[in-house]
């Protein structure tokens, strides 16, 4: 897909985002192992989440250190929805000025379902 097209899609995703609230993450209390595995792949992939660019996460090789290490997520986010909202970038999620943290849902970088899987994965860390 060329860049122009991607940007059109992004613009589209953003305009949709304004209208529809992000889906709930709570669908499954105990996520399937396959979802966690897929979430890990999405989180590590350079063209998808690329979380390792900025965060230490699990056994990911050569992590960056721009953002805080993704550890003890359950402890820090007892409410999993809040974690989902942070990764998605909802308007009510925690905002840090000049943060490098991309708003994955808001900017259409990952789909809602992909974000759910990523969150399922990091929730195990």
């Amino acid at each position: 897909m060329n860049l122009k097209m991607k940007q059109l899609l992004t613009a589209f995703a953003v305009s949709c985002a304004v209208m529809t609230a992000p889906v709930s993450v709570q669908a499954a209390d105990k996520p399937a192992a396959s979802d966690i595995e897929e979430g890990k792949k999405l989180a590590f992939s350079r063209s998808k989440g690329n979380c390792l660019a900025c965060h230490m996460a699990g056994d990911g090789a050569q992590p960056g250190n721009i953002g805080p290490a993704l550890v003890a997520m359950k402890l820090r986010y007892p409410d999993k929805q809040k974690l989902y909202n942070k990764v998605w970038g909802t308007s009510d999620s925690m905002k840090v000025p000049n943060s490098m943290m991309p708003e994955f849902g808001l900017h259409g970088i990952l789909t809602d379902d992909e974000i759910r899987k990523v969150v399922d994965y990091i929730y195990t860390l």
């Binding site: 991607k6 960056g64 721009i66 000025p97 900017h107 970088i109």
Partner: protein, 276 residues
């Protein structure tokens, strides 16, 4: 201290976004703020060292880099640049004078007649075209070699970009604006990587400070295995940001270079450089 500096940088974004002319910053004040910002970020790093890019942040990477610089892989290209110079020496002397060591330090500058920033690479091509020669391509190859030759001749001299007109101030502010504004799908700005997070790692890449970014170009990158120009790098970073790159030597990138070079005033010219 750090907070307020960050604040002043950030504040600039919103102000410029609403009204470019009315709130444009004073370049010299802005440059000093930036130097202070990096000083409070890393009190132990001396100002002069910012010519060395990201290597100021890691003794390990610095040692590896210095080992490579002992037998620099770009020297053949500097020689090739000298040959290119000699091939059309009369043409270049007409444009740049007869001392090749006295060329690099005069660029970029703001040309009052055309109200444009003139970079060295742009001037080289204008010079060639005026003499009926074919212009070089802008990202790599002959343009980078010739530019590397000029830089090499001027090593040790200092960056000294002048701003003394409204037009030049506006060009600076446009470049600064591009540096600070988040763009692209990831919502990143140059400042996020090369000011706020300079010294941190993005995966295995150590993020360099914007202060000093222009001193050592063109750069021989291990990844490229050849020399590339500053504007080639700009395009690469814009691509990584998932934003639309501008054309090399577009007005946008010339203004960006003008901003980056001005804030590097007082640093040594040490191009061409080797980078990982």
């Amino acid at each position: 201290m750090k907070k307020t500096l960050l604040g002043s940088l950030a504040l600039g974004v919103t102000m410029i976004a609403t009204s470019p002319a009315a709130f444009a910053v004073d370049p010299e004040q802005d440059r000093q703020n930036l130097v202070d910002f990096f000083k409070s970020k890393s009190p132990k790093i001396a100002f002069e060292d910012y010519k060395d890019g990201g290597y100021i942040y890691s003794a390990d990477k610095r040692a590896q880099w210095e080992a490579v610089e002992e037998f620099p892989p770009y020297l053949d290209s500097v020689d090739a640049g000298e040959e290119l110079y000699q091939q059309d020496q009369a043409v270049y002397e007409k444009c740049f004078g007869d001392d090749p060591a006295n060329v690099r330090p005069h660029y970029p500058y703001f040309d009052e007649k055309t109200q444009q920033v003139v970079t060295l690479e742009w001037a080289i091509n204008i010079c060639r075209e005026d003499a009926g020669l074919k212009p070089f391509k802008y990202k790599k190859g002959d343009i980078a070699k010739l530019s590397a030759y000029f830089a090499y001749q001027s090593r040790g001299q200092k960056v000294d970009v002048k701003i003394d007109s409204d037009g030049a101030r506006e060009a600076y502010n446009k470049g600064r604006d591009m540096f600070i504004k988040p763009v692209g799908q990831l919502g990143l700005s140059c400042a996020k990587c090369h000011a706020y997070n300079a010294g941190r790692y993005a995966r295995a890449d150590l993020l360099s400070p914007t202060l000093g970014h222009t001193t050592h170009f063109p750069v021989f990158r291990a990844k490229w295995q050849e020399l590339g120009t500053l504007h080639r790098r700009y395009g690469g970073c814009h691509q990584n940001m998932r934003a639309n790159p501008f054309k090399p030597q577009s007005e946008e990138y010339r203004n960006l270079e003008f901003f980056q070079a001005y804030i590097s005033n007082g640093l040594e010219i040490n191009g061409p450089g080797y980078r990982q």
